[in-house]
């Protein structure tokens, strides 16, 4: 995990702390009617405490599979996943998840959605109110606490989904193309909202995307995956200053990262066509 570059900001050095998530030789073979599909070849990587990691790869390369294995929603065919040094068993509240599809509880208000996990755990109403207020403010949805999901735009729904995951105080936040269904403008805004929430919550985040700009803008490290069967191809540390603003996307450093990643991903996309 030691990066050769050490001249960037304090935040980066914080990340060089202890490993938060260790993925060791994790592979996945799906058995289907037509035979076996290797969705993921044996893959290993480590994420440090507080690190923001994005996984970038062409569609169908096994990104969701990695994330679902970490979440405990899918069982790995080989290898194991350690969170804070302990093996994971099935899904649990220590690993929060945000999906691409909207997964708010439609019968609950924004506020009830955000505090759903807390309520399951028997946290008192007063404490839930406090947590809800905090996260509503963090994601910029004050005044919407009594709204139902159907009354929200796609971007707002994903803000609530992020708040709901964070309010549960997980050890790591797993995000599977959470902005994939949003239009470009909203997507850009959501990236900034997420960075703000990350900065404030100091969470470790594993974020999946097939959008190159998004992967650079958000990440401390971008992992590029190969086309099917998926495997990690390269780790690209992103040494742009934090906190990042939208304007960083116009810098030459950003363009250089983009070029590097684009060429890596193009090779893979060509293979997968």
């Amino acid at each position: 995990m030691v990066s050769p570059h050490t001249m960037n900001g304090e935040k980066e050095s914080v990340h060089m702390g202890k490993p938060k998530l260790e993925i060791k030789d994790v592979g996945k073979i799906f058995k289907t009617k037509t035979g076996e599909t290797t969705a993921l070849e044996k893959t290993s990587f480590t994420i440090s405490e507080g690190e923001f990691v994005t996984i970038l790869g062409p569609s169908g390369c096994g990104k969701s599979t990695v994330l679902r294995i970490v979440a405990g929603l899918e069982e790995a065919t080989s290898g194991h996943v350690l969170l804070d040094g302990e093996a994971i068993h099935g899904p649990g509240p220590d690993r929060g998840m945000v999906f691409q599809s909207y997964t708010l509880y439609p019968w609950l208000t924004v506020k009830e959605n955000i505090t759903f996990g807390l309520k399951l755990n028997g946290v008192s109403q007063k404490e839930r109110d406090d947590v809800a207020r905090h996260y509503l403010q963090l994601i910029g949805l004050e005044g919407f606490e009594k709204h139902y999901p159907i009354q929200l735009s796609g971007g707002m729904k994903q803000r609530v989904a992020i708040a709901r995951a964070l309010a549960n105080d997980p050890k790591i936040l797993l995000m599977d193309e959470p902005f994939g269904a949003l239009d470009a403008q909203t997507r850009n805004i959501m990236q900034e909202v997420l960075l703000k929430a990350w900065d404030e919550s100091k969470k470790t985040i594993l974020f999946i995307t097939h959008d190159v700009d998004e992967s650079i803008f958000l990440a401390d490290s971008v992992y590029v995956m190969t086309a099917r069967p998926g495997r990690l191809k390269k780790k690209v540390p992103i040494q742009l200053d934090r906190p990042r603003e939208f304007s960083v996307k116009g810098t030459t450093e950003f363009a250089q990262y983009k070029e590097e990643l684009l060429s890596l991903i193009r090779e893979e996309s060509l293979k997968s066509i």
């Binding site: 979440a71 405990g72 929603l73 099935g90 899904p91 649990g92 509240p93 690993r95 929060g96 998840m97 999906f99 599809s101 997964t103 509880y105 439609p106 019968w107 609950l108 759903f116 996990g117 399951l120 755990n121 139902y148 999901p149 159907i150 009354q151 989904a161 709901r164 995951a165 549960n168 997980p170 797993l174």
Partner: protein, 261 residues
């Protein structure tokens, strides 16, 4: 007005419904007042109305309605009380689906009326037998429909609930049940409608009261006006319960509407 899926003003929508009823009445009137058909087979609307008033005032119509309603209601409630939890379990646990889907799928094609002789042998001619017919007529369909509704709960909603710390029981009570509830209420509305259609079947044999019994008696004594009154009343009762379910649906699931009203 004739573009598919295009909204039309509410007044036109309602008027169209009324118009259909009126056309129906006109055809009936022409056939009867015009003497096209024998009054012995099809009485005039006024005769039917007079019979209805007479039955309400002097006959046992009200108590017949009461007894029929209680049979339908109890038979249906028992079917729902077993069918809802069973359907939810079948829709969410593969083992339950594997165990019950084949047998329910098999029995549901057997006509409820064919069970009447057996039911009489087993439990006699009392109320329980009538209610059992209603039960048999609705239970199997209801259970399978609830299963489907439960299966349609978005899988990722269940997955995200696990990552929020939901335990298995909580998953049923806090996620699957509320997510499936609108579909469940709608299923109840539809199957309650079917329960009414089994009423006459239930009251054909060994009954001495109820709307079905009244209709069978009227048939025996060649009283088509009485038969029609009975049929219309069953229709109206069905319509009424349908409207009650729709009102419950509207009142309970405001979160499904953008305006929240």
């Amino acid at each position: 007005m004739f573009t598919p899926n295009k909204e039309i003003p509410k007044t036109i929508y309602t008027s169209a419904g009324f118009l259909t009823f009126i056309i129906f009445l006109v055809i009936w009137s022409v056939l009867t007042y015009g003497g096209v058909v024998n009054a012995l087979f099809l009485p005039t609307p006024t005769t039917v109305l007079a019979t209805a008033i007479d039955l309400f005032a002097n006959g046992s119509l009200l108590s017949d309605i009461g007894i029929s309603f209680s049979r339908v209601l109890v038979g249906f409630l028992v079917a729902a009380a077993i069918g809802i939890p069973l359907g939810i379990l079948m829709g969410s646990l593969r083992i339950m689906e594997g165990a019950f889907e084949p047998i329910i799928g098999f029995i549901r094609y057997m006509p409820a009326s064919a069970f009447i002789p057996l039911l009489i042998l087993w439990i006699g001619l009392g109320e329980a037998e009538k209610m059992s017919v209603i039960f048999l007529g609705t239970f199997f369909q209801l259970t399978l429909m609830i299963m489907d509704v439960t299966k349609n709960v978005q899988n990722e909603l269940i997955e995200v609930s696990y990552t929020l710390g939901a335990k298995k029981v909580q998953l049923f009570t806090k996620v699957i049940l509320p997510a499936a509830l609108p579909g469940i209420v709608d299923t109840l509305r539809i199957t309650f409608g079917w329960a009414w259609t089994y009423l006459v079947v239930a009251e054909i044999v060994g009954a001495s009261s109820g709307l079905g019994y009244m209709i069978m008696q009227a048939s025996r004594f060649l009283q088509p006006d009485k038969i029609i009154v009975g049929i219309i009343i069953i229709g109206l009762l069905g319509l009424l319960t349908d409207m009650i379910f729709k009102a419950i649906y509207r009142a309970s699931f405001s979160w499904m509407r953008k305006d929240g009203l």
